[in-house]
Symmetry: C2
Subunit: 189 residues, 2 copies
Amino acid sequence: MDTRAKILNAALRLFADHGYDAVGVQTIVEAVEVTKPTLYHYFGSKRGLFETLVREQSASLLQAVREAALYQGDITLTVHRVVQTYFDFAGKHPLFYRMLLSMWFAPPSSEYFAVVQDVLLEQHQLLEAMFRDAVSNHGNMRDRQQQYALSLRGMIDTYIRISMLGMVDLNDTAFRQRLVHQFMHGIFS
Amino acid sequence: MDTRAKILNAALRLFADHGYDAVGVQTIVEAVEVTKPTLYHYFGSKRGLFETLVREQSASLLQAVREAALYQGDITLTVHRVVQTYFDFAGKHPLFYRMLLSMWFAPPSSEYFAVVQDVLLEQHQLLEAMFRDAVSNHGNMRDRQQQYALSLRGMIDTYIRISMLGMVDLNDTAFRQRLVHQFMHGIFS
DNA sequence: TAGACGATATACCGCTTGGTATACTGGCAA
DNA sequence: TTGCCAGTATACCAAGCGGTATATCGTCTA
């Protein structure tokens, strides 16, 4: 593994474990056993390092959500696919998803929030579009796409968090089905 | 308002808006127009200030949840009371609840998390006890109290967050009833 | 073989951080 | 009226912060 990748790895681990503000550049380079100019050579600044980290890691998530959220006539099925996509990603990249989650709830004026906001916004737009496209089939969800998108994300993140505490298994198909059923029940009722 | 209270007020506002790490002691005392030794006279340290803040503000929330979560034979009614309690508190203390929310998702090893964890744990135990007490009436929720408590909190916090974005009105009784109904549906199904 | 270049190190910068030693003030008690 | 004490200010500290000027090394190219 080359130096650049090692720095990104160490930064992810440290940011996820202690938070962006609490981790100094010095700490990161010590963890990789290089010196500061090396880090600044690759990333230009602490913020640049963080932006690179977020963009590279979230690319595959965004792509997967983009495909899963394509409405093709069955909203329940589509929602199920989206849920599965998030659960899969969080299972494969727990450190990154945990970090994303903590920053999604962080004060909007913090430096790192601006970086993460783009990623979150794009996901939100995909989910909203999914619900909007389903409107023709389900008249009662008109103009509620935004709220539905937010609450679906809320539910997904809640259960990802619970699973990180070891309290639930996201790979349990029956469990996932019950979640989606419950969510759809909330929409249609 | 005395100096002590002014410091606590300013600290809450600043921590909620920018995060614990991002706000220096100097910034706080400048906002109140006093000097550092004054702050250290009252609170001993930055962490001491934060602990005092969290403890004083969360006392009323804990008391309200303690009363609301008392199971008296009707679990749906009790859950409804709990939901209303949280919504009321978040409506009355939006700054504090927003701060609490951001820290609840923060990295566990961050300094402030330890302070906030006590408050969260106590709430969780109250909710868990509520579901445990309801077991005799609803055999199918046995040994799931922990998961139920976590997912109820997740749902509550999700909607508080959505309301903070202006996307939903927590004071709408019909809306609250639909939420509780949806949650209970997820439990009983 | 000369030079350019990517990658890395040493040593430093100004600034901010959380925290404190010391001194002063006003009010209240003996 | 003396003395104590809570409360507040001036001025300071060591340590850490993000960031950089400069130099060196090895490799690849002309």
